[in-house]
Amino acid sequence: MTEETIQRILSRYPERCSALLPLMHLYQEAAGHLTEEAIIELAGRLGLTPTHVMEVATFYDMFRLKSGGRCEIWVCHNLSCALLGAEQVIRRLEETLGISAGETTPDGMFTIKRVECLAACGIAPAIQVGPDYYGPVAATDVGELVEQLKRQPAISDQPSSSLLKTDR
């Protein structure tokens, strides 16, 4: 995170406050979660109160105030995914990693997160890890997927999903 990046984001908006979400993403990516210092600094930069920044941080699903696993596995459990076995996938993930959805493995590697619609219903049941989408994921694919994620713990820069299938 450089000052140049921050200034570039600020330059996109006629009113500074609009840069809040983009800057929160940036600060969170840098530290893994939104730290208290980040919230105070952001408020100062944008002329907002820390309370306003906290309100925003807790309103949106993607911001986190505590650190989670290095690799967050988002499993969609909404209708199209549920119809095709998302719950079985979640159960298998929980068994494989030895944690419940919402928890982080003791080594800090994985967090399982249930999420509402990933807008990937065409590859349901769908999983998202960083920018990558996986689907359709069967419960029997879970072991291999976890192994694959272990080999590349850092969130990749480009979509590279080997399980991703196109829709036609």
């Binding site: 699903d61 095709l84 807008a119 219903c121 036609r168």
Partner: protein, 427 residues
């Protein structure tokens, strides 16, 4: 097979949607043509005559919406592309962004010219990290080519475009919540009026259009309003990208004339039901719309036909449900979503969505009471039309429809103190 309009480039072998590929297939000719031949008022008139209606959910006529922006005002005007696709069952905008970003950018340029704006934003859902990167690259390429920025193609038209990521809140797909979010606040919908056309982003005149809606504009410019309105019905024109998911053989997106029969969409395009399954129900326009059943299969997918059948065209997300699926459980999943996504501003929605979900879960788990069925309908009745935005209606309408067509299943749950389907929704 029909002619595809928005997805025709997807069929070109090796097409990745780069600026060069887009231009080589006729891209950016529409903006050149408009800058040479049209006035903003003329372009608005053309889009009005085409009959194009918004593809995000409400189906409002696009040209009419553009026409609401005050002319001659000194205030800056804004165009915001709504790419916050998060309605369960809907996954079409993702494809348009990933596979042909310049088609969208050209649509934004044209809309920006029509309403006289100089700054436009694409509000893309936060989870679409890859989509946002593709858009940023495409915007950078278009700017380098002089297609965005100052004095575009030697004209006096200037437009800056920025991709802006949301952060995971379905409500931000509602246009006024989206504007609040873009202003760096919680995405709480605003009371209307004033409408965004007069007081939108930063309280300045603003148009919010969906990705698919905007992607249509270059084609309307190149081929004319009459060509566009010859597809579909007099009130629903053009094609539509339907996302078909659930218990079908080939889930995916299918671009068809907007009035394609539901039966054809499911049984021909999406390959019909999965092996050995029979169709039980269809949600034709995203999780917020009323469900239909097998006897509605000959309904066409246009706005009026689906309304006549008692449902809505919504966002074009078609969820197909096979026999053996528990509709109480479907209701529980759908109501959990709206409970999770309610912004909490209006009591009827905040409390109603929670109450609906709790009651449905209780019935599904075999702890329901006979009175719960009427209770559900009573809660729905108290949620509809009584809130600032339509999320409350979106939560209530599907549940009412599940009770309308599948009341016996709800009664069976109560009578047997258990789910007759073994408490599972999946295959």
């Amino acid at each position: 097979m029909y002619e595809k309009i928005l997805t025709n480039r997807f069929e070109i072998p090796g097409y990745r949607g780069t600026l060069e590929e887009y231009e080589a297939t006729g891209g950016y000719q529409a903006i050149a043509k408009v800058l040479k031949e049209h006035t903003p008022a003329g372009l608005i008139e053309l889009v009005k005559r085409s009959g194009l209606r918004g593809r995000g959910g409400a189906g409002f006529p696009t040209g009419v919406k553009w026409g609401f922006v005050p002319k001659g005002s000194e205030l800056p005007k804004y165009l915001v592309c709504n790419a916050d696709e998060s309605e369960p069952g809907t996954f079409k905008d993702r494809e348009l962004i990933m596979r042909d970003p310049h088609q969208l950018i050209e649509g934004i340029m044209l809309a920006g010219f029509a309403i006289g704006c100089q700054t436009a934003y694409i509000y893309i859902r936060g989870e679409f990290v890859a989509g946002a990167r593709i858009l940023e690259q495409a915007i950078q390429d278009a700017t380098a080519r002089g297609l965005l920025g100052k004095d575009i193609l030697g004209s006096s038209f200037s437009l800056d475009l920025h991709a802006h990521r949301g952060a995971g809140a379905y409500i931000c797909g509602e246009e006024t919540a989206l504007l609040e979010s873009l202003e760096g606040k919680r995405g709480l919908p605003r009371l209307k009026p004033p409408f965004p056309a007069t007081a939108g982003l930063y309280r300045k005149p603003t148009v919010v259009n969906n990705v698919e809606t905007l992607s249509n504009i270059p084609h309307i410019v190149m081929r004319g309003a009459e060509w566009f309105s010859s597809i579909g019905t007099p009130k629903s024109t053009g094609t539509r990208i339907f996302g078909v998911s659930g218990h079908v053989r080939r889930p995916g997106i299918y671009e068809c004339p907007i009035d394609v029969p539901m039966r054809e969409l499911i049984f021909e395009h999406a390959g019909g039901m999965r092996e050995g399954r029979r169709l039980k129900a269809v949600i034709p326009g995203g999780s917020s719309v009323p469900v239909l059943t097998e006897r509605h299969l000959d309904t066409r997918m246009d706005f009026e036909s689906l309304a006549t059948a008692g449902s809505m065209a919504g966002s074009g997300g078609v969820i197909v449900i096979a026999e053996g699926t528990c509709m109480v459980r479907v209701g529980e999943v759908v109501s959990r979503f709206y409970h999770h996504e309610s912004c909490g501003q209006c009591t009827q929605c905040r409390e109603g969505t929670a109450w609906l979900h709790k009651t449905l879960r209780r019935i599904e788990e075999g702890r329901g009471r006979t009175a719960d069925l009427d209770l559900l309908l009573d809660i729905c009745d108290n949620m509809k039309g009584k809130t600032i935005c339509p999320l409350s209606d979106a939560a209530a309408m599907p549940i009412e429809s599940y009770l309308k067509y599948f009341r016996d299943e709800f009664e069976q749950h109560v009578a047997e103190h258990a789910c007759p389907f073994g408490a599972r929704v999946g295959v």
